[in-house]
Each structure stands twice: as structure tokens, then as C-alpha cells.
């Protein structure tokens, strides 16, 4: 049985701010040209516990977003999300201006927030999935997830709680902060790209620049979220805290950003 598409595993290095700054500066220029993993492909990469490892990881996160921009699975899905959101808003507030970029960010952010489940990576391992893979996770049929979770229904029944007939498993994608940011930016990268299924709003609608934003305290940077250019400004989208909304992010002493060249 082949396992997973787009899951990259490596030793994790905790970067100092200075190291991270160098890593970010060099990530764009580094020759991390291997394409994203294909369906069913898992790559394991052992990396040094230095800023070279960080640079590699960021480079791969950038590449995953770049590849998502031309991925029809990501583009079609993003188009559906934005169009459904636009229709919902229109039904409540009337027509949405066709040149309005912001509704795309709101739509993608709302969808990600509704479907993302935060978990930590294993100790000393960094797992990164492609946006394509995370979107596919949300389309798993209910009977498949139910089959996998059958022991839980039995356990609940043993203590008199019958969930089998009433509980509906949600559509989820699961990961830590870098996967949350990667999924958000990957979906944003398809808006206005002109690729199949990616026409959202007017032809002129385009989100960008797209950036990863890093934050940390005590001389380290240890958290990442997405930072999306829209209408000439930027908006933070951090999906790792359940109470956050678009524009919120965790408070840190230090911040750095790196742009995804598209």
C-alpha cells in the first residue's frame, strides 16, 4: 500500500532569529528545484540541525505553494470555495462587487479555518504536506473515515453513548502551523492565475504578494502563518488557534517574512 503524497519528513532544527533571517534571505534563491511529491509519494530527507535545514524546509514550503498555483485540483477546489462563499454573501447582503479581491481571502480563510485540525509533528521530525494533499484529505468519503474510526463507536457504546447513527464525521485536513500556512497560501496562489478552474471573481482579481510570516520569542522563530497581499495591504491568516479570525496572529517579540515568488 502506498502511503502518502506530499509528506516530507526531516529532522527539525530550531532556528535562532539570526539564523532564520539568513535562511529566509537565501530560501528564495536556493536551488530547491525538486517538484512537489506526487500522489502516494513520501520523501524522507535527513537534514543537518543547522540553518541549512531551516532553509531547506522553507524552500520546500515555497515550492509547494508554487506548484499549487498550477495544480488543477487546488485551483478547482479554490474556485468552488470562493464561488460558494460569494453566493452565500450575496444571498445575505446582495451582489458582491466583481472586482472585490478581499472576498476571495475571506472565503479561503473561512474554509481553511472550518476544516483545519491542528496537531504537533512527531518529536525531531518535520512533516510537510502539499496543499493538494491536504485538500484531498477533506474529500474522503464518510464511510471510509467511519470504517477507520469504528473502534471509537464501539467504545462510546460500551459506556452507553450511541453516536453511530447521529454523528457525522467532519471533512478535515490535519497538520501543524507550517502545513496550515502552506494550504492557505497554496489556495490563494490559484486565484487569478488563469489556470483551469481558477477564475474567481473578475479576470483582474489576483491575490498577492503571498508571504510566510514567522514569529518567535527569546531569539528564536518557531511559528509560521500566512500573510496575504490584498487590495494593496496585507492580512494575517493564522489557523492554529481556534479563537482566531482573519487578521489575528499570535503575539511575538520578533517577526520575519519570506515571499513566495509566483
Amino acid at each position: 500500500m502506498s502511503a502518502i503524497e506530499g509528506m516530507r519528513i526531516r529532522g527539525y532544527a530550531r532556528a535562532s532569529r539570526a539564523e532564520m533571517g539568513r535562511a529566509l534571505a537565501e530560501a528564495n534563491a536556493s536551488a530547491l528545484n525538486a517538484p512537489s511529491p506526487n500522489t502516494g509519494e513520501v520523501r524522507h530527507t535527513a537534514l543537518p540541525d543547522t540553518f541549512d535545514g531551516i532553509r531547506f524546509e522553507i524552500g520546500r514550503m515555497i515550492r509547494y505553494v508554487q506548484d499549487a498555483a498550477s495544480d488543477p485540483v487546488v485551483a478547482r477546489h479554490t474556485s468552488d470555495v470562493c464561488n460558494q462563499y460569494k453566493a452565500m454573501v450575496a444571498s445575505m447582503n446582495g451582489p458582491v462587487p466583481s472586482a472585490e479581491d478581499a472576498f476571495c481571502v475571506e472565503a479561503i480563510d473561512a474554509w481553511c479555518r472550518d476544516h483545519f485540525c491542528y496537531v504537533n509533528d512527531p518529536p525531531n521530525i518535520e512533516v510537510i504536506q502539499t496543499p493538494r494533499r491536504m485538500i484531498k484529505q477533506t474529500k474522503i468519503p464518510k464511510d471510509v473515515t467511519r470504517f477507520m474510526c469504528e473502534p471509537f463507536f464501539d467504545a462510546f457504546e460500551q459506556v452507553g453513548i450511541r453516536l453511530r447513527d447521529e454523528y457525522v464525521s467532519p471533512d478535515l485536513y490535519i497538520g501543524d502551523c507550517d502545513e496550515a500556512a502552506c494550504a492557505m497560501l497554496g489556495m490563494c496562489s490559484t486565484v487569478g492565475s488563469g489556470r483551469e478552474g481558477s477564475r474567481v471573481g473578475s479576470p483582474g482579481v489576483k491575490l498577492g504578494p503571498l508571504q510566510y510570516r514567522f514569529g518567535g520569542n527569546d531569539g528564536t522563530l518557531h511559528h509560521v502563518w500566512s500573510y496575504v497581499g490584498v487590495n494593496g495591504g496585507f492580512v494575517d491568516a493564522d489557523h492554529t488557534e481556534p479563537d482566531f479570525k482573519l487578521g489575528d496572529h499570535s503575539r511575538f517579540e520578533a517577526f520575519e517574512t519570506v515571499e513566495v515568488p509566483l
Binding site: A3, I9, V73, C149, L172
Partner: protein
């Protein structure tokens, strides 16, 4: 041999190195990481649903105790009960059976088009208790439920039985599948105990 079957009772020392290697290998295995994420996220959502329905909503966000409970329940149900399927001594075979349709669906560009065929019953796990525990601890490690230990029960200074311990949200929990009536936190009583830290 039924269900968990063989609980090691010989007087040779347990091969902690091999068991620890199983834990370490599990946490590096993409299929098992994905499986651990799936079952724990979904168990947490079930608890959220049920607790909300009862009017006592529980915080499930990255709740490591719930993740540990998910792994414990899943493994206890599948490794300790005799199934009607084929026998296996490899705990991962049992996981592959449960996760097979998930990975088959993920092979498609649109997994929603996957139609799950009729599934065979889960394999009956007839391997050792120690291998089952090591696999369960490995699944815990996939969710960063740590630190992890093997705990050894001693009689007259001799190791008689080994099980697992996991630390979640500030508390240690014993994981012992050797008795069907046990649940998370239960373990067999011995004269003395030793703990062996599992490096991750």
C-alpha cells in the same frame, strides 16, 4: 491463541532496544503518522460533539490527553480483541487494514469518487503484548505525546512484564493491554517497578 494472546512471561530481559526502535520507526513512518493524525483528530471531534450535546463542551484543540486516549482505545479494541479475520503477529497489519480504504481514496485526484468495497473483518492480532504496546507508543509519538517510557514489573528483581507509559498534559498514564478489563491508566501490580525512557 485468541486476541492479544501471548503475554510475555519468560524470565529473560525484555529487548528494550528493539521495542524502542519500533517506537522510533513508527514516528518516522508516513503512513502511521497520517493514521495517528486521522484517528486522534476524529476522536477529538467525536468528544467535542458528544460533550457539546451534553451541555458540557470540552476543549479539544490539540488536547494531548484526548489524543492519547484515542490511541489507547483504538489499539485496545483492535489488538486485544479476537477478530474473525486472518491472524497476524504484526500490529501494523491491523492498522493497514483500517487505513487501507483511506489511502486508496487518497490515490484519486478526487477522493470523494472513491467507492469503498466490502471490507474483510479486521485481522486478529496474535503477536506479543510488547509489540502492541510499542506500536501504540509510536502512534503517541506521532502526535508529540511525550515523553514515553516502558514500565517494567519486577518479581524478586526479575522483569516479569512490560507495558507503556505516556506523559500528556502534565500527567503520566499507564498503557497496559494485558487484561481485557484494563483501560488507560490501569496496570498489573508487582513488587517493584522500573521505568525505561524511550529516546525520541
Amino acid at each position: 491463541m485468541r486476541g492479544l494472546g501471548r503475554v510475555t512471561a519468560d524470565r529473560v530481559r525484555f529487548d528494550y532496544g528493539r521495542l524502542a526502535q519500533t517506537v522510533q520507526d513508527t514516528r518516522k513512518d508516513g503512513m502511521l503518522i497520517d493514521f495517528a493524525r486521522q484517528i486522534c483528530a476524529r476522536f477529538a471531534d467525536m468528544v467535542k460533539y458528544w460533550s457539546g450535546r451534553e451541555g458540557r463542551p470540552m476543549a479539544v484543540h490539540n488536547n494531548k490527553t484526548l489524543f492519547l486516549e484515542a490511541v489507547d482505545i483504538w489499539c485496545r479494541k483492535r489488538f486485544c480483541n479476537s477478530g474473525s479475520g486472518q491472524w497476524t503477529t504484526n500490529p501494523v497489519d491491523v492498522i493497514k487494514h483500517a487505513a487501507g480504504p483511506y489511502f486508496a481514496a487518497m490515490e484519486l485526484d478526487d477522493p470523494s469518487r472513491y467507492r469503498m468495497p466490502r471490507q474483510a473483518p479486521p485481522p486478529s492480532y496474535v503477536g506479543t503484548h510488547e509489540d502492541a504496546i510499542a506500536t501504540a507508543l509510536g502512534l503517541c509519538a506521532c502526535l508529540e505525546v511525550q515523553p514515553l517510557q516502558f514500565r517494567v514489573g519486577l518479581v524478586n528483581g526479575t522483569p516479569e512484564h512490560v507495558w507503556g507509559r505516556a506523559h500528556a498534559d502534565g500527567k503520566w498514564y499507564d498503557i497496559d493491554f494485558s487484561r481485557p478489563e484494563f483501560k488507560l491508566g490501569d496496570y498489573m501490580e508487582f513488587q517493584d517497578y522500573e521505568e525505561v525512557e524511550i529516546p525520541l
